[in-house]
């Protein structure tokens, strides 16, 4: 949940607990205080009675007022001095009430009495209720203000954090935004920004030097490869070469070719990562599929593969070269991993491209398929073809999936609305 909500929740719970505990404590404290006050009043009466008895040697007359009653009961039993609260039914007012009673022993004229002073506690109780209500209201008000203040302050207080989080979320090593370390009043945020700034700076730097290294390494490899190529081209001019040498030479050619292709694929991947294929244009995928199939027809023919093409116009906005590489790799893959006399089916719809081929009779693992250098079954490819496909798709938000269905290995590309363009009905085949 959001920081604010969590914080608010905590604060509210604490506040409610405090409110409750405070309320309860409040109640008991006030009650005690008021009752104590009542008892003091009773004690005053008691003292007056005792003084009266002392001075006049007789009991004062019992009294009965609205809020106070005093009466005496002659008794021989020992009397304990006690304070008591009693619920009674007031027949006059026709309602129940509470009274506070003080019993104490008094001797007058040689007789023992139990004196009882009674004061109404109802007003006290009412007072307690009012005080509690007022306190509760104030506390609720406080709570509300606290809540509102929280919301307001939290928002502003945490703003630098949200800014930093936003930056981190949008951060791409290959295309970094500059992090503006705006100074805030809060030490912790300054420290955070400082750390984020230096860390991202270092990451970008490392990335660039790694990329430069990879780039240079690949380029450096081109020249020795060129030398090997050229020496072999010269070597085969010698027709005295024995038949076995010819076989070995052919293997060497193939290996060097593969190495070259691998190197070029790595360079291509590096360029893709480097955003060197940024320019986009309107591309008709179905047309490219058709063109590539024409170019590859010799290979298809030599492997006796039958093809089925169902090419509805599919128009997207993408870098043309990447689109061609994507299509070519998919088709090459379908040819390479096919068996003699197999089948390839290519279909484009308004939002998808599906390339399916027969081949190995068991389903392949999707994860391994797109993994660099993994090879499902024997093949002579460099293994990077589908990895490049996947990377191009990722960069263009195209969804790519593999499935094994009806004994055909299918690679399915789904093109989202965001990169599709309106099909020009005149232009479509």
């Amino acid at each position: 949940m959001k920081l604010q909500s969590a914080y608010n929740r905590g604060v509210i719970v604490a506040a409610l607990v405090a409110l409750f505990a405070g309320g309860v404590a409040d109640y008991f404290l006030i009650r005690y205080a008021l009752l104590h006050q009542l008892d003091e009043a009773l004690k005053v009466e008691e003292q007056e009675i005792i003084d009266h008895v002392r001075i006049n040697k007789s009991l004062p007359s019992p009294s009965r007022y609205r809020d106070q009653r005093i009466y005496f009961l002659e008794t021989s039993a020992p009397v304990q001095r006690t304070f008591r609260s009693i619920h009674v039914y007031d027949s006059v007012e026709q309602e129940s009430a509470v009274i506070r009673e003080l019993d104490f022993p008094v001797n007058a004229g040689g007789k023992s009495y139990k004196a009882t002073v009674i004061k109404s506690q109802t007003e006290t109780e009412d007072l307690i209720s009012w005080i509690l209500a007022a306190t509760g209201l104030v506390l609720l008000l406080l709570l509300a203000i606290l809540f509102a203040a929280n919301r307001f302050f939290l928002k502003n207080l945490w703003m630098p954090l949200y800014r930093t989080v936003n930056f981190l979320q949008g951060f791409k090593v290959s295309n970094p935004n500059v992090f503006s370390k705006t100074h805030t009043n809060i030490d912790e945020f300054n420290a955070l920004n400082e750390a984020v700034g230096s860390m991202t700076g270092k990451v970008v730097q490392d990335f660039h030097s790694l990329k430069a290294f990879a780039d240079n390494a690949s380029h450096e490899m081109q020249t020795p490869l060129a030398i090997i190529h050229s020496k072999m081209d010269l070597l085969i001019q010698d027709e005295q070469l024995h038949a076995t040498h010819a076989d070995q030479l052919q293997s060497m050619y193939d290996a060097v070719n593969k190495l070259t292709r691998l190197n070029q694929s790595l360079l291509l991947l590096a360029k893709i990562e480097n955003d060197q294929f940024a320019t986009k244009e309107t591309v008709y995928v179905n047309e490219i599929c058709h063109q590539k199939m024409v170019q590859l027809e010799d290979f298809v023919f030599s492997k006796k593969i039958t093809t089925k093409q169902s090419l509805m116009p599919l128009c997207i906005s993408i870098n043309r070269i990447l689109a061609e590489i994507l299509t070519l790799n998919l088709l090459n893959n379908a040819i390479r991993h096919n068996h003699e006399g197999g089948m390839i089916s290519i279909s484009t719809s308004s939002d998808s491209l599906v390339v399916a081929n027969t081949g190995v009779v068991t389903a392949l693992s999707e994860k391994i398929l797109f993994d660099r250098f993994s090879k499902a079954g024997r093949s002579d490819g460099s293994g990077l073809g589908l990895t490049i496909v996947k990377r191009i798709c990722e960069l263009n938000h195209i969804d790519v999936k593999y499935s094994y269905h009806n004994q055909m290995h299918q690679i399915i590309l789904l093109f989202p609305e965001s990169i599709r363009c309106a099909v020009d009905s005149i232009k479509s085949l």
Binding site: A226, S230, M232, I236, Q237, Y253, T260, Q264, L267, G381
Partner: protein, 225 residues
């Protein structure tokens, strides 16, 4: 024909010279920028092979020099970078062709021949090999003065063979020439064989000698029978 090879990697320039010398080109080598400038200023060449990754100054600057001095040599650029920007820049600056490393020597040879044809014999671009007459502008082939119908790939093969006549060409090189970068390393080269077989048949049907020889395991050679 006189060629200037501007390449700093000695092994590579040696190979290029070795191959091209036996194709009757006269080859000179410059391995430094300044060296190359000096030679270009003092001599005439039919074609210049230029590596733009020179250590002491980009080859592209050399190209600029050439154009600034109104030199008319054909130039083919070699580059390890295979960068599209380089390619476009080079061609815009007046280079005639671009070849990325690593490449096959027969490929280089065929491209040099094409550039020289374009530069030298404007209006009369014919390749003649005994009874074979190829009109490279109209892309027509005549054998013993009879027109011959060749598919696009067969035509390209024939031109490639003749440009590298007398040389053993590997199947790899042929495949690269006909299908370029599109091709991944195939399991076998049967598909090449089909085209070559068809070309051979057509040549023989029209009375050519058996010029195309296949060399076991290695490749093919186009030469006098």
């Amino acid at each position: 024909m006189k060629l200037l090879i501007v390449e700093d990697e000695k092994e590579l320039s040696d190979s290029i010279v070795s191959y091209l010398r036996t194709a009757n080109y006269i080859c000179e080598v410059a391995s430094r920028f300044n060296d190359a400038i000096a030679r270009i200023e003092n001599y005439e060449y039919d074609c210049i092979v230029l590596d733009i990754g020179l250590p002491d100054g980009s080859g592209l600057n050399l190209l600029k020099e050439l154009k600034d001095n109104y030199k008319n040599e054909g130039v083919i650029i070699l580059s390890a970078k295979n960068s599209i920007d380089d390619r476009i820049t080079g061609l815009n600056m007046g280079a005639d062709d671009y070849l990325s490393k690593p490449f096959h020597l027969p490929e280089l040879s065929a491209r040099i021949a094409a550039i020289i044809r374009r530069k030298k014999f404007t209006g009369n671009n014919h390749i003649i090999f005994h009874e074979i007459d190829i009109d490279t502008l109209g892309k027509q082939v005549r054998i013993q003065d009879q027109p011959v119908e060749l598919t696009k790939k067969e035509y390209q093969l024939l031109v490639y063979f003749i440009a590298n006549k007398g040389k053993v060409i590997s199947k790899n090189a042929i495949a690269m020439h006909l299908w370029g970068d599109e091709m991944e390393s195939p399991g076998n080269y049967d598909f090449i064989y089909t085209h070559i077989k068809n070309l051979r048949k057509k040549l023989e049907d029209f009375g050519c000698g058996a010029y195309i020889r296949s060399l076991y395991g290695m490749g093919y050679k186009f030469s006098e029978p």
